[in-house]
Subunit: 235 residues, 2 copies
DNA sequence: GCAAAAGTGTTAACACTACACCCATGG
DNA sequence: CCATGGGTGTAGTGTTAACACTTTTGC
């Protein structure tokens, strides 16, 4: 029972964040090289230790900032990993977080002595400890979330085209969509505002740019099923 | 960064489980009286401490068994609570789990010196620390899960009637369904096998009993959207 | 003028909602 | 024989998936 505080063993508590990015055609993963001797050349997730006076959320935000300089990133708690032997050095319970950011906005990291780098999600180096398991878990959460919430926009620049958005969703769900159905569905959500500008330089015709509506003007859209390519891909 | 193990502060790690039950008409919550002085008369979730050689999942299973004698219960990790002041006695990070069981099968607990008791979910005593927050979190997870996975059956006896199942779903989603639409939808899922027996003693006509198909025979059904009363109730 | 990407509509199948009456039985 | 809960069908509406051609413009 929850008494006998004094007799209980304590654990190190770590935070590890899976940071997804998108470069226009592929999903990216932000990794960092770990500073300790034994695993000097192994890439790992953005991780750090929980400090005495911070909540888990605060700690995850601080760690990300310390390692990359990134601020104002929305981090969402995923799950906890706690196998006794998951960290061979000392028993550690790790709480994972995930975040989505537009990777082209953050190419250069203000990361002090750490080296952070974007990798293709489907082609990244081997990871420390159980970090690959954490990444797999995060991908499945990302798919779930993207199906029901307009979450993909955080991975794109503030102005984007429908074909760009479609490529993003195709990357998230690792599949292809019919562009007529895709654009109809996205526009029907009422989340996007069409701008007068066209994207230049990529296609010859140029595609219209859109931006996300201000929160206030989106009503029904965000409370309803948002985008499900086909339910069985996400469950 | 994840080095400097020696310098880091350690934390107590607790497990707290939200155990849902169903008595045929209402959802139930299994609570226990905590053993420590300051909060002797406060009910709390099934909780205990993580031990050195067990994983989080193992610990949650063990704690549930120690407090209630319940075994072979499928527990699923929910989330972690870690505000620095959530436990006033000492800093504790708590990992929550939830489970669904058929409460009528478990009325009497082999709980050693502990006192475990079922309460109506909508009418239970005040809870310790942030346990109410944990319960709220679990309810929303239960709704989500029930909408996409045939999860409700764990709350019923192995043979059950369609009206019983409907009552369960009505309790989970706190609403009412049209019985014609409900049964059509559930049967269309292909998850149920109709038995030759009828339930006796409750209604005069008697309702046919069904059982859950063996895993093997369910194909399309479990991979597809299973039961969504109306999407905006669950998102 | 042609290659490459953008943009746009219709149809047929299916899924969902709403709704009302008869059935079987125990008392 | 009647009260209680069990069981069933249909019509209308909305939603989804599948599908092909025209437009723009840089080269």
């Amino acid at each position: 029972m929850l008494d006998q505080y004094g007799k209980q063993t304590k654990c190190l508590v770590a935070l590890d964040s899976i940071i997804f990015g998108f470069d226009g055609s592929k999903l990216k993963l932000l990794l960092v090289k770990r500073g300790i001797e034994e695993s000097k050349n192994i890439w790992s997730l953005m991780g750090g230790w929980l400090q005495p006076n911070e909540s888990l959320d605060e700690a995850a935000i601080r760690v990300l900032k310390d390692l990359t300089g990134l601020e104002n990133i929305y981090l969402e708690q995923l799950s906890v990993f706690g196998r006794p032997d998951r960290d061979p050095i000392e028993r550690t319970v790790s709480v994972t977080y995930f975040a989505l950011i537009n990777s082209t906005d953050y190419e250069n990291f203000d990361s002090g002595s750490y080296h952070a780098e974007w990798f293709d999600l489907d082609q990244h180096p081997e990871l420390l400890f159980d970090h690959q398991e954490m990444v797999d878990n995060a991908i499945s959460r990302l798919r779930n979330k993207a199906a029901f919430h307009p979450v993909g926009f955080e991975l794109l620049p503030s102005k984007f085209t429908i074909p760009q958005l479609q490529k993003l969703y195709e990357a998230i769900f690792d599949t292809e969509f019919d562009k007529r159905n895709f654009s109809r569905r996205i526009l029907a959500s009422g989340l996007l505002t069409k701008l007068d500008e066209k994207q230049k330089g990529f296609s010859k015709k140029g595609a219209f740019l859109y931006e996300l509506n201000s929160q206030n003007t989106v009503k029904a859209a965000s409370s309803n099923l948002y985008f499900v390519p086909s339910i069985d891909r996400i469950v």
